[in-house]
């Protein structure tokens, strides 16, 4: 995200905040280490007078952290972030929150395509979904209380990409994709690049509101397996998690609770609102799976797991500072 923003020449300064040091050399970004709850954020905001906060640290991946920590990161982290952004005399004009389509759940009564204003039809059963819904309601309240701020919420479908580990990508890397016997639902994916581009898009445009983000089209779960050369691992339709638990030990298959509804009924989100706002995708849902599978093949062949830095520093330097480059009208 910061890499992409650095390329924008009218961004004066970028400030990164995270619990870990960034893995890439970031040229113009100042990085501050923080704890997971962002308790220092309000001081930073006051000291630097930033005008945009992009909240990408929401954990939408329940295998990455224990569930208690998940609540801590998501709900308490967001509370601190919103408190910092909404403090009196704040310089912040825009808050962007990266959420997930998990808020819609997955139930048989669902429409084929969820629009942003639709609410979920099934009950909230998993901790991840509960924490995301809580965060979204906090953000909604914040937007109501601070009408002069632009608050944008992006709800992403399942993200696939080289840098990110999710239960699905984890399974695809092991070429063993859990499914529920007798069900072959339709699912959507979004490429990591499109995630970054969407965040960049809403950062540089004025588009308050809630937006779904997902690649075009849907594809059956079995096709996800066939495109990526994985085998389907059927679990019984009744209590699948009971059977998935020993498999997790044996084969490293991850099957968190929020996957259960998804691989039974699937989920689709309507992405027309973000499209109408002017964003266009580079990858379709199927294209995302294919590009992930190809990246995986490459990884298997070359053995490299370290993602490359996209914007070569020398080239970047050249474009930014060399007198040979014809300057754009805005610089």
């Amino acid at each position: 995200m910061a890499q992409a923003l650095e390329a924008e020449s009218d961004v004066e300064m970028i400030l990164g905040l995270g619990t870990k040091e960034p893995r890439f050399p970031l040229e113009r970004t100042e990085f501050v280490r923080s704890d997971q709850k962002y308790s220092i954020l309000s001081r930073i905001v006051r000291a630097t007078q930033v005008d945009t906060i992009v909240h990408t640290f929401l954990e939408t991946n329940s295998i990455a952290v224990p569930s208690r920590v998940l609540h801590e990161i998501n709900v308490i982290g967001t509370l601190n972030l919103l408190a910092a952004a909404g403090a009196s005399g704040t310089s912040v004009r825009k808050v962007i929150v990266k959420s997930s389509a998990h808020v819609y759940g997955a139930a048989p009564e669902d429409p084929a395509w969820f629009r942003e204003e639709d609410t979920r039809t099934g009950p909230v059963r998993t901790r991840l979904e509960r924490s995301l819904l809580e965060v979204e309601s906090l953000v909604r309240d914040f937007a109501d209380d601070n009408p002069r701020l632009d608050v944008t919420v992006l709800r992403f479908a399942h993200v696939l990409g080289t840098d990110i580990i999710t239960p699905i990508s984890h399974s695809l890397r092991r070429r063993l994709l859990p499914c529920i016997a007798g069900f072959d639902p339709l699912v959507q994916f979004v490429e990591e690049d499109d995630v970054v581009r969407a965040l960049e898009f809403v950062t540089s445009h004025r588009v308050p509101g809630v937006f779904n983000v997902a690649g075009e089209g849907k594809l059956p779960w079995s096709e996800v397996a066939s495109i990526s050369g994985a085998h389907l691992l059927p679990l019984p339709p009744v209590r699948p998690r009971l059977f998935a638990a020993p498999l997790q030990r044996l084969a490293g298959v991850r099957f968190p609770p929020e996957m259960e509804g998804l691989v039974t009924y699937g989920r689709g989100v309507d992405t027309s609102r973000l499209r109408e706002a002017g964003f266009d995708y580079r990858y379709t849902s199927a294209g995302t799976v294919q590009s992930f599978a190809r990246a995986n093949n490459l990884r298997r062949a070359t053995g490299s797991t370290i993602p490359e830095y996209r914007y070569e520093q020398d080239v970047e330097q050249f474009f930014r500072h060399s007198p040979a480059v014809v300057r754009g009208i805005d610089s």
């Binding site: 910061a2 923003l5 924008e8 905040l17 990408t56 004009r93 445009h205 294919q290 474009f319």
Partner: protein, 330 residues
């Protein structure tokens, strides 16, 4: 990672200029097109505006695949697969032709293009009318039909997937609107729902309540005509004697039928129909002179229209039954 950005277009603190600065910053469409066509980022002919764009647009970002080349199957966004449909059509065709000997009347009233909502009466403990209607229209008119049905089907392993691949769609108003309005396809709906299929043989050809008239509202919103279809024969193909409510509850089914077929053939009776003669009559399309696309329509108007359609269909059924001489030969 958390990113806090500070964006300022020098000297223009207000939003309007802020946005303008961004717009001025993005490359013009033709510069982008030129760059894509010659494939060499950094050719000197490019305008200055695209130079600031260049570091973002490395070659790696080219779209890797379009939907056509990445896909492996022809399953569409509703789960329908034309390939699967053609297999089912081949298997079902002898049944359609020689078992039920389906006869259509007024098939030309179904449009060959554009959306329309087909509305039919429902019958048979395990309904035999939906496959016959879908098969008939797909073979005669060569266009797909999406069967809207209760989401209950989705929850049954195997059946749910098969139902979806062969054109079944959960009957959600949003789904219907998309199929009819956005995609201009045909959708088939049985407004009586399971109230019709769970009725006993003694109630045959008596139309149940047409739900809450939701199908009329959907057609109004999508701006498509409703085309009623009266079906005779399905009632006799699997007549129900009584329901076993306790068993249904235990199995989590809407109802559990005890049919004549099952008494004669045992469990095989649940997959075997009697060879009743099927006659289908397509009635005149009904259009509504209301503005499409509204969130809500007058409740009384919707209920009146639904009741009127129900009445017309009931009259047609009586008329067809008066003319019928034999259950088996029509």
């Amino acid at each position: 990672m958390e990113t806090v950005g500070k964006a300022r277009s020098s000297g223009h603190p207000d939003d309007r200029d802020f946005i303008d600065a961004i717009v001025g910053h993005t490359p013009s469409g033709e510069a982008r097109a030129a760059e894509e066509s010659d494939g060499a980022p950094g050719t000197p002919e490019l305008t200055g505006a695209s130079v600031s764009y260049l570091p973002v647009a490395t070659r790696r970002h080219e779209p890797e695949a379009t939907i056509d080349e990445a896909r492996r199957s022809d399953v569409d966004e509703w789960g329908r697969s034309e390939h699967m449909r053609s297999i089912v059509r081949r298997l079902y065709d002898p049944m359609y032709r020689y078992w039920f000997r389906v006869e259509w009347e007024g098939l030309e009233k179904i449009p060959t293009e554009g959306g329309a909502l087909l509305v039919a009466n429902h019958a048979g403990a395990i309904p035999s009318d939906a496959p016959a209607i879908m098969h008939g229209i797909e073979t005669e008119l060569g266009r797909p039909v999406y069967g809207l049905a209760d989401y209950f089907f989705r929850t049954v392993p195997g059946v749910g997937t098969m139902w979806s691949r062969t054109g079944g769609v959960p009957a959600h108003p949003d789904n219907a609107y998309r199929i009819l309005h956005d995609q201009g396809q045909l959708a088939l709906v049985f407004p009586e729902g399971t109230k019709a299929t769970s009725k006993t043989y003694s109630d045959r050809y008596r139309l149940r309540r047409f739900g809450r008239g939701g199908f009329v509202e959907i057609a109004m919103r999508a701006g498509v005509p409703i085309i009623p279809i009266a079906v005779v024969g399905a009632e006799e193909s699997m007549p129900m004697l009584f329901r076993m409510n306790g068993l249904a509850k235990a199995l989590n089914l809407p109802y559990f039928p005890v049919t004549v077929n099952s008494l004669l053939l045992g469990p095989l009776g649940y997959v075997t129909y009697f060879p009743a003669k099927f006659k289908l009559r397509v009635l005149d399309p009904i259009t509504f002179d209301v503005e499409p696309g509204l969130e809500r329509y007058s409740r009384s108007r919707v209920m009146d229209e639904a009741e009127r359609i129900r009445g017309t269909m009931q009259d047609t059924l009586h008329d067809m039954l008066r003319q019928r001489r034999s259950v088996w030969f029509g």
